[in-house]
Amino acid sequence: MKNEPTSYVNQIGNTYRLRTRGIGKYGIVLAFIALCIILSVMTPRFLTVANLVNIFTQVSINALLAFGVTFVIITGGIDLSIGSMVAVAGVVAALFAHPDTYPVIVPILMGLLAGLALGALNGFVITRTKVPPFIVTLGTMTIGRGLALILSKGRPVSNLSDSFNFIGGGQLFGIPMPILILIIAFAVCSILLKKTVIGRYMYAVGGNELAAEASGIRLNKVKMVVYTLCGGLAGLAGIVLTSRITTGQPNAGAGFELDAIAAAIIGGTSTSGGVGTIMGTLIGALLIGVISNGLDLMNVTSYYQQVVMGVIIIGAVVLDSLSQTKK
């Protein structure tokens, strides 16, 4: 991109409009790097290959969810039901993943399908009625949790096949599967958002819904795609989680929605829509993961962990925003 025309910027006036894609990303990257350097100095165990592999594996589930929710937030919506979708997809997958029943593709497909179906339900209700996404997805959050409990009868679904457990626990070319899945999802989501028409429409719908409509974009179609996609990614996350802990947990994923949304927003996605990148979201997820890993490594007492965690997250985004307004 060309250098930013400063005169134009000031004309619009308010400084926060400066929050463009480019600069926003760099700010948080800097904050992230700074944090990593501090941690490497404070604990020698931080900057080891084993620990980095660790962090990426741990981050993978939140990142998958955060990618999905990034799409949703870019269109100006919100999805609170992802945590519950993780549970439903996990339980459904687990129910089909007992050894010597179905080939491993069946639980995978069923889990994905569960996520996609719930996501589509969100999209359907949001586009057919005027109910705000917050309420719709809060509703499906509760419904989903109930479904997961009903399907599992309130008990963990365990005894899963080794091939299923490979998804979260195995390695390919020496790389843990969750990391491979993360890389693939990252590539696909990035391309979808940046290189395809539907990605363009997501930005348009979130940036100015009326303008998008007046340009002939069918809002409902875009929203359906986005919520379904988010559900599908939550389903994938549910499968990875279930496989990683080798059980389908009906209460898995509770509260995951906040972490995922936080990752997206830390990464520069704007809650008012129209702005955001998958790369930024990944960095947001990594930032959260690194903080929590670092606090464990340094054995900060658990009450203080929470305080420190909150302060660092705010601090990182303050740093980010400073680097934006300085320009």
């Binding site: 991109m1 060309k2 930013e4 025309p5 400063t6 005169s7 134009y8 910027v9 000031n10 004309q11 619009i12 006036g13 409009r17 463009t20 894609r21 290189k195 395809t196 028409v197 539907i198 990605g199 363009r200 930005y203 348009a204 940036g207 100015n208 009326l210 303008a211 998008a212 409509e213 007046a214 340009s215 002939g216 974009i217 069918r218 129209g274 702005v275």
Partner: protein
Amino acid sequence: MSQSQEYILDVRGLSKTFSGIKALDNVQLAVRKGEVHALMGENGAGKSTFMKILIGLLKPDSGDIFFEGAPLQVKNVHDSLKKGISMIHQEILMVPELTVAQNIFLGRETTRFMPGWLDDQTIYRKANEILTQMGVSLDVRTPMKYLSVAEMQMVEIAKAISNDAKVIIMDEPTSAISDKEVATLFSIINDLTKKGVAIIYISHKMDEIFTIADTITVLRDGRYIATHSATELDTNRLISLMVGREIDSLFPDAVELGGQEAISVKNLGRKGSFSGISFTVKAGEILGMAGLMGAGRTEIARAIFGLDRFDEGEIAVNGNLVSITCPQDAMQHGIGYVSEDRKALGFIPNMTVKENITLGNLSNYTQGLFIQQKQEAKIASEVAENLRIKTHTLDQKVANLSGGNQQKVVIGKVLLASPRIIILDEPTRGIDIGAKSEIYKLIRQLTASGIAVIMISSELPELVGMSNRILVLSEGKQTTILSKQEATQETIMAHAMPH
């Protein structure tokens, strides 16, 4: 149905009601291929509502629309665009984060490799071609949000004409651009009509109508009044059709006043935007500010009002140097500002007419913490009546007013804060001719009561007619200040042209 084949678009008996209030009542319109059909009417007459129905943004309550002889059925804008109807919207509809080119081709992106894979290279190239053809120099990769209102309007035009439409609706396409760009638009329109494209043209600028229109249809209060060939009408007849009465002289006579110096600006500048701006305005005086699109007038106004910073220079009010870092400072020093971008800076869409009007000086109707509701309502209704704001009730949301009436609300708000110095940035943008004369009268009243006015306008007749002196800008530099005697449209243009 024996629809006459020559009409590409034929609308009959169209009605539309908003929550019990008729915005359109049994209106009709018949547009021929290759003609420019002007749709005229006062603010709130229902023109935009009508057009939004045609494009599929609103659903009519009843009525028939025939397009190329067949009933037109559109569920949404997607369908109407496909059928060959496109529209320049009165309120600029753009996605701020997307680039100029991406906005121009929004909804009809070129793809390559496979369906759905964006080909931005081609989009940038084509957008560049279109804009170059239009004589607009803009980097097509600039995000839309960095553009001035005028530039955005040019992009809107580019978007609508690049759609290969058979009918193009232009709802006040020139409200924010200056004469040079208007001339460009007209030559584009000429090319289009030669190719058989029909244009429905809405504007409050009378001279434009008689330059470009072949046929004129007039609406009043949501009802169809008449359709005439442009040659049958003159300005006065048209106005009386629109308003239902005659309008006396547009520009009331200026009263010469040798008042005290109200504001003086010395050597104001900001890097990359404007520099060397020096002027004084006396109480009761109107200083006009002229310049081409992008000359920097709005930026100067924003800086004086404290919305933007400036790097150098000083501002004195009543002879005392003041420091202005935010709008509150400016307002405390008695400065008021009517922005050219009313949607972004002018009003709160979800608040009522009354609440918007009183927002700037609520403290005058409060006792302790409490708002004196009765007093507030009384004052607001006085303002609404003075400015002839057309609204069903003062508790109507401003979002639901017609564009012109929104502008009046903004002016009302600023005036109510009783400023001693008022900056009007395109104050009559989108305002109908009747209301314009009201506003001119009002400005005269203001000056008569000793208020100093800085008036920015791209309508030269208005500037010449109203100003005591005119400051001319070219590319962010002050080229001259013309006295009333010197100021003609020609001399202004000569000083405004870049050297």
